[in-house]
């Protein structure tokens, strides 16, 4: 803790237009999405939702750009004390914790279904009489044939964990190492090392996403495994899908860090933006390991 003489005043920006625009942006984004989904489900061909969503994304993206630029500028003009930088560290850590809990909800749903629901619908255990509705239903996981197979047509086949998912595991685990090498680049003051390893990390992330996209395509077209093919498809796509969305965001963050690295940002004592992106990347990696074990390996 700083002593009296060295206390550097905590920087409090005195006002800012950014948050109100960010609020407007996020509102337009979700309001547009809501309209899009309702129009889609109602079979309407109105494009009101898309327009609002697009506008919202524009406002939100623009605001975030200016917001982060402002923070970087303030940092470079030495407005930030050590204490303030600790606030960023704590803030990012708690944000990642909130993300962990978001995934926990979906993992929890998967475990609950596998531990209880599969059997209960089949009349095993305490809920005996519940097998009257769907007498042909077989309580097994993976659930290839959901109770009402007309409404929820099951998949014909599943994705083997030892093909593309294993490749993806290796890609992401490798990328956790490469991002650490990039960090070493900052610590050693070796910008070339930083930039090269960042490029390697980003490439691994993008390849991962392409593999994942190909896997989805394969699942939809060849295997009949879709969002609507019952609880297996539901948990499979929701868990891997949200993970994929996070990889996308993480890759985007790393790309921003790449641009910043090339502009000469970051030093051993001042690289929080990079560290935050790297933590996020490790978090995404750990979630994937959970997915690989519980969705792919133990799920099929």
């Amino acid at each position: 803790m700083s002593t009296e003489e060295t206390y550097q005043e905590y920087y409090v920006p005195h006002s800012s237009k950014l948050p109100i625009f960010a609020s407007l942006g996020i509102f337009l984004t979700v309001y547009g999405l809501g309209n899009m989904f309702n129009e889609m489900s109602a079979g309407s061909d109105s494009s009101f939702g898309e327009i609002v969503f697009f506008l919202g994304g524009l406002v939100m993206g623009g605001t975030l750009f200016f917001w982060f630029s402002e923070v970087i500028k303030e940092n470079h003009s030495n407005l930030y004390s050590d204490q303030l930088n600790r606030s960023f560290v704590w803030g990012m850590s708690w944000f990642i914790f909130s993300e962990v809990m978001f995934f926990a909800a979906f993992f929890g749903a998967l475990f609950y279904v596998r531990a209880f629901v599969v059997d209960w619908i089949g009349g095993v255990g305490e809920r005996g009489p519940s097998d009257m509705l769907w007498q042909d239903y077989e309580p097994v996981w993976p659930m290839m044939s959901p109770p009402d197979a007309e409404k929820f047509p099951g998949p014909s086949e599943l994705i083997s964990p030892w093909g593309l998912p294993l490749v993806n595991t290796l890609l992401l685990v490798t990328s956790s190492f490469t991002v650490t090498f990039a960090h070493h680049g900052i610590n050693e003051g070796n910008r070339k090392k930083l930039v090269n390893w960042l490029i390697a990390t980003i490439s691994l992330g993008i390849i991962f996403l392409f593999v994942q996209a190909y896997e989805y395509y394969h699942a939809y077209v060849d295997l009949g495994l879709t969002l609507a093919s019952g609880i297996y498809g539901t948990t499979f796509f929701m868990l891997t899908g949200f993970h994929g969305a996070h990889v996308t965001l993480g890759t985007f963050m790393l790309i921003v860090m790449l641009f910043r690295s090339r502009k000469g940002h970051f030093s051993k004592t001042d690289c929080f933006g990079f560290e935050a992106a790297a933590w996020y990347w490790h978090f995404v990696d750990v979630v994937w390991l959970g997915l690989f074990v519980f969705v792919y390996v133990l799920g099929s």
């Binding site: 606030s87 926990a104 749903a109 297996y232 539901t234």
Partner: protein
């Protein structure tokens, strides 16, 4: 609204607030943002209150008189949602914004721009939520707990906007909580250890932790709904191998900590007020901290006591019953400590103290009916009756809301620089106290007699107590206009408040002038002797 604060920034080296509306739109000042939260919460309190009075007007007599069942369902749903997410939670965030930095000697919240963002998302979220009343198919009508499949297969199209409104509230809460935690962990004046923090700060630290842990789970559950509704997934559809009960598990994993989110800061408020007016140190400070932490921990492992009648295995019923009963222990510690603080104190009974004492008594009644509900075989009788309604309104209205009112009276002189009108304050207290009890106490009786909740009509045998309950509700509701009047009057003027304001008040916020200058503790205070509440 801002007149008083603006007059008093002169003695400070730093800039004061901007003029006009942009002050509120662009502000990064924790006091401005606290004020915004509190006014927003007050507005939502009236909107949610109008829904409640619609419900009570319909229930004044048996039969259908005023609203049709469709609208009745929308009113109960929106009443709950608005009160929980729009009135109680933002009020506590407003108090945290105003008070936490002043109590720990910090210049502001840790992340001031994000603080403004957290607030300004809310008017958009609630604007969108309330606009569902005017959409085709009407507003959400599936109860504030929005159980699937009522909220999925059978929901009106407005459910999509409800889902996104919940997402926005969640984002706002998570950012707000991150701010509170970071402020408390990183911005305490040098020398203030964790165990020297006022209890309000402690309770908020733990509340913020709960919020960050469970708001993402709420986001998860509404996302599952969204996917089930629009993209054919089967989370809550047994036909696809899912389970509607899964909804209840995920929802209540959020929902049970949520009820502690709405009461822990109230504990903090009461723990600040009672020692002041008893002129004694808070009894058992350490045990208060540990009790709060225990309650928070227990809140994660008791969720299925909301689901005893849904058909969970016997072992589950037993576990959740006993785990729930354990919560009574740390809660009992708290009630004991408040009473012990008052014991042999030199008590005076200004308005904040009246609300605080009423809190202790009435919250305890709500706690006891909670214990009754935790008993599985008894709960089979009480479930979904007015007994449950009476229970949670006792912990929320004379619990959370009384504590918010107590807090407003207690710190209003610090915020505005003026004393409120004590006679009017006491009048407001007694009207509210009588109104609350007349409204909710009879609901215990009609609940035990079997009146179901969320139904616009009822059997003749419940008529008398319902009529009394409705009278109480209107008394309570209209008394709040007096509250509004008292606050406005206090902002406009009145007897000048001293720094200390209250004879026995302890804490850093009482060492600065009243009204609190626009910027406080730009450099940290040195004397920590005052800090401990």
């Amino acid at each position: 609204m801002n007149a008083v604060v603006e007059e008093h920034h002169d003695d400070h080296h730093d800039h004061g607030p901007a003029k006009g509306i942009t002050r509120w739109l662009y502000t990064t000042n924790h006091k401005d943002i606290g004020t915004l939260y509190l006014w927003f919460s007050f507005a939502m309190f009236f909107v949610g209150g109008i829904c409640a009075l619609g419900i009570r007007a319909e229930l004044f007599q048996p039969g259908l008189q005023i609203v049709q069942p469709e609208l009745f369902n929308q009113l109960t749903t929106m009443h709950g949602l608005i009160m929980v997410f729009g009135a109680v939670m933002p009020a506590f965030v407003g108090l945290a914004n105003w008070l936490v930095p002043m109590m720990i000697g910090a210049p502001d919240m840790a992340l001031p721009r994000m603080n403004n963002y957290s607030f300004w998302i809310l008017p958009f979220a609630f604007g969108m939520l309330i606009s569902t009343f005017f959409m085709e198919g009407g507003a959400p009508n599936y109860g504030w707990t929005f159980y699937a499949p009522l909220s999925t297969e059978y929901a009106p199209p407005s459910v999509t906007f409800f889902i996104f409104a919940v997402h926005l509230m969640g984002i706002s809460s998570i950012m707000g909580s991150i701010n509170v935690i970071v402020t408390i962990l990183n911005m305490r004046a040098p020398g203030m250890t964790l165990m020297q923090m006022p209890l309000f700060v402690w309770t908020w630290l733990i509340t913020a932790y709960l919020l960050i842990a469970v708001m993402p789970v709420l986001a998860g559950v509404v996302t599952m709904m969204l996917m089930d509704i629009h993209f054919g997934t089967a989370f809550f559809s047994a036909a696809g191998g899912g389970d509607p009960v899964l909804f209840q598990h995920v929802f209540w994993f959020f929902g049970h900590p949520e009820v502690y989110i709405m009461i822990l800061p109230a504990f903090g408020v009461v723990s600040a007020i009672i020692p002041t007016f008893a002129r004694k140190k808070l009894f058992g400070y350490d045990s208060m901290v540990y009790a709060t932490a225990s309650i928070a921990f227990l809140s994660f492992i008791v969720w299925a006591h909301h689901m005893f009648t849904v058909g969970i295995p016997l072992a589950g019923e037993l576990y959740f019953m006993y785990a729930t009963m354990v919560i009574a222990v740390p809660t009992g510690v708290k009630v004991f400590n408040w009473v012990a603080t008052m014991w042999q104190g030199s008590m005076t009974f200004e308005t904040p103290m009246l609300f605080a004492i009423a809190f202790v008594i009435l919250f305890t009644i709500g706690g006891f009916s909670g214990l009754m509900l935790s008993i599985v075989p008894a709960d089979f009788q009480y479930h979904d009756t007015y007994f449950v309604v009476a229970h949670f309104h006792y912990v929320l209205v004379p619990g959370s809301i009384f504590s918010i009112m107590a807090a407003v009276y207690y710190w209003l002189p610090k915020w505005t620089g003026n004393m409120y009108d004590e006679t009017l304050g006491k009048t407001h207290f007694w009207l509210s106290f009588i109104g609350v009890n007349v409204t909710f106490f009879p609901q215990h009786f009609i609940g035990l007699a079997g009146m179901p909740r969320r139904i616009p009509d009822y059997a003749l045998q419940f008529a008398d107590w319902n009529m009394i309950s409705s009278c109480g509700a209107f008394l309570f509701g209209f008394s709040q206009l007096l509250f509004l009047f008292i606050i406005l009057k206090c902002i406009r003027g009145g007897q000048k408040a001293t720094e200390r304001v209250w004879d026995g008040a302890k804490g850093l916020e009482w060492t600065i002038p009243s009204p609190a200058p626009y910027h406080t503790f730009s450099t940290p205070p040195k004397d920590m002797a005052e800090a401990h509440g």
